[in-house]
Symmetry: C2
């Protein structure tokens, strides 16, 4: 992974950081790195995520999916239980991974109608085994399989914690099971069973993904000037301090669209605390240049724009054309055009004093995505250390969960009463 | 369309607006409404977009696609040339609409491999007829069809302006053609030929979409207290004035995911000017509750959260279960769960003093999406009037386009030199 922070320096950007400040910040990076290393070594809660590339046993995953040769994998899970798997299967170009990560009746129904259920592997993922959306969808999937005359117990693999309803169910029906690793919050579980199982079931090279993660582990150094992941985390933090309250995250590759979603969860849920944290706004290059660039260049200077791309792509030549106005495109490649737009956008932002950072990997492949996932996790953890927040918890999510349970009659929850008391000012 | 601004009042939210301020703001809304009406009546640039529901001739669209009965429609277009069509086909539940709105070689190649080219209608959309990404992709599509032994001139429809290379091509090969309406910026063209053609080709009820838009037109009134669209635009503006620099836009329906993308372009490109404008951050309920809610509730109070849903859904019952912890779900519906989460999230944000607005339509159908598209356009235009920006232009997008053209050797552009002069600080 390569990071270029040149366009986030004070000389270039309104919310940029001076080189002298960076030097001072680097002392804090060194101390934070020490804290992170201690946490990794002791397998402390959260920090242990950064040990996954070597702690995860790919054989256990391969064992769980052995005997299946599915046309499709249907992951039933939400948030950290599905985004990593989506990111990895997409980056590896594996067709056939589908996700039920919402409780939209129309969407669930249509997806189940479309899938070849008799050659689909159902992958249910919930650490607690009680996640409402996931279990509700799973019950619907079981029913659809029964309706199609398929024994769901022959086509289901479970990834869950040590105990809970899903773990019990797996024992009862003798289902292949993977464990959600201890000490790893969902949003940091991409490089574990949680993120890797669907790719393994579809024939992906999960060992190479883990090797990419391990390369990221090797690259952690006590100075932001020597470590791309820390350079990103530290400079993003420095821009937030200087007013960049939004992080517009823009990969230039369609296959990285789920990666941007994964990143948005990682960033928001880890850092959005105590009235702090950058809001991730995900976009996709070059497409969203035609929709967001006006704002990025001429709107408020309250953003960091993160541009991500692979350095090499298999290009596709643009055919010759009789249309004179387009002759400049002929003989070039679609990828060449995409890269020209990447560089043009980067320069356009710099020209407007809008802070931006470039992140690159060599190629968008199994190793590359492993590196990128690990690098962004390390960057987020470093940022959390600098910000002084509790990076690995998500207390503010609980209130809404209790309110929803109360509304659904699962018990008495005072939060549900607040729902009834909503202040209304309706315009019809 | 229904809008509830109760949770954006000063009594509820940090960036909320007092009822007294709303009364004062309403005088400005009345004047802005007058300006908008004058613009619509005179078919002024931009404002004329709000006349589309009655100005658009659905017969012209049906004529252009008559004779095709495609299995798939491939829209080749970017930004405003594709997002409206994506939004409408998705909301109508029409399968088979695909878009090439990026120049990612891998993505283009894979999509073309997957499509049944001999029963695909290619829909090329570019007002100028020179949009680099669109024309490059079109050249590749033409070649793929030729390689498959298909005469592209029999399977292509063009939507473009009065003149330009695409218009010339259409004449030369006698292609069915639709006109991009005059005076309508791309991001406001959903309710025209540009947004409606793919839905028409796939059998969608475009007349009902236009009727929904016409209902939105009927609903414009000179007071925010009488007009849902203006209530949304005015209160969003008021929250920005009070520090809500981000608009987290969260539909609770999978089929509205493209609508959120469409909205993000509309909002960003119309309002992101002169150092002003809210940054749209799109998300999807309930999925993203598990990733963004921590930040929305506990991060900076610099957001307006917009929650969108249909009031009615065809629900799907959650089957009974032997798992005791989940018995509260049994017999309920997936949609019921989704709606409980919607209300719980809304209350959770209000409890934290985080401004939010609820937008509802009766049902997610052709009429509903027409209403919603029109309502959001009117809201954006009203907001632009209040903010005093040039809502219908996008001057900041041009810089990057010139730089990219320079890089690709299409001429001398000084912007391309800035790309070469990039400040680098690489961490490897």
């Amino acid at each position: 992974m390569y990071v270029d922070i040149g366009n986030a320096l004070a000389a270039e950007a309104t919310t940029g950081v001076s080189e002298a400040s960076l030097e001072r910040l680097d002392e804090r990076v060194a101390r934070a790195h020490e804290r992170v290393e201690t946490g990794i070594e002791a397998r402390e809660f959260g920090y242990t995520s950064l040990a996954l590339p070597t702690d995860t046993d790919p054989e256990a995953i391969r064992d769980a999916v052995a005997g299946f040769d599915p046309e499709a994998v249907l992951t039933v899970g939400i948030g950290g239980s599905s985004l990593g798997a989506d990111t990895i299967t997409s980056a590896l170009g594996l067709d056939g991974h589908h996700t039920l990560d919402n409780v939209d009746p129309e969407h669930t129904r249509r997806l189940l109608e479309r899938l070849p259920l008799d050659s689909t592997l159902v992958n249910v993922v919930s650490k607690s085994g009680t996640t409402a959306e996931t279990l509700a969808n799973f019950l619907v999937v079981r029913e659809a399989m029964a309706d199609a005359g398929i024994d769901w117990t022959n086509r289901t693999v479970v990834t869950t914690g040590e105990s809970g309803p899903l773990a019990d169910l797996a024992v009862e029906h003798d289902l292949p099971t993977c464990s959600v690793p201890e000490g790893v919050p969902g949003r940091y579980s991409a490089l574990s069973e949680v993120g890797l199982l669907p790719a393994a079931a579809l024939g992906g090279d999960i060992e190479a993904v883990l090797a990419g993660g391990a390369a990221g582990r090797e690259a952690l150094e006590p100075s932001l000037f020597d470590c791309p992941a820390y350079a990103y985390g530290a400079v993003a933090y420095a821009t937030e301090q200087r007013g960049a309250t939004t992080n517009a995250f823009v990969p230039y590759a369609e296959a990285l669209e789920p990666f941007a979603e994964w990143f948005a969860q990682l960033w928001a849920e880890s850092l959005g605390k105590d009235g702090l944290g950058q809001t991730p706004a995900r976009a996709l290059g070059a497409t969203d240049q035609h929709s967001q660039l006006q704002l990025y260049r001429a709107g408020r200077r309250d953003k960091l724009v993160t541009l991500v791309r692979p350095r090499e792509r298999d290009d596709h030549e643009i055919p010759a054309t009789e249309i004179e106005e387009l002759s400049y495109l002929s003989g070039g490649g679609l990828g060449e055009l995409l890269d020209a737009e990447f560089e043009a956008t980067e320069a356009s932002l710099a020209d407007a004093g809008q802070a931006n950072i470039r992140i690159e990997i060599d190629r968008l492949d199994a190793h590359g995505i492993g590196e990128l996932l690990y690098g962004m996790e390390a960057a987020t953890i470093l940022y959390g250390e600098l910000l002084g927040v509790s990076t690995f918890t998500q207390p503010a999510v609980e209130w809404g969960k209790r309110a929803a349970r109360g509304l659904l009659g699962a018990g008495d929850f005072e939060e549900a009463e607040a729902v009834e008391d909503k202040t209304e000012l309706r315009i019809e």
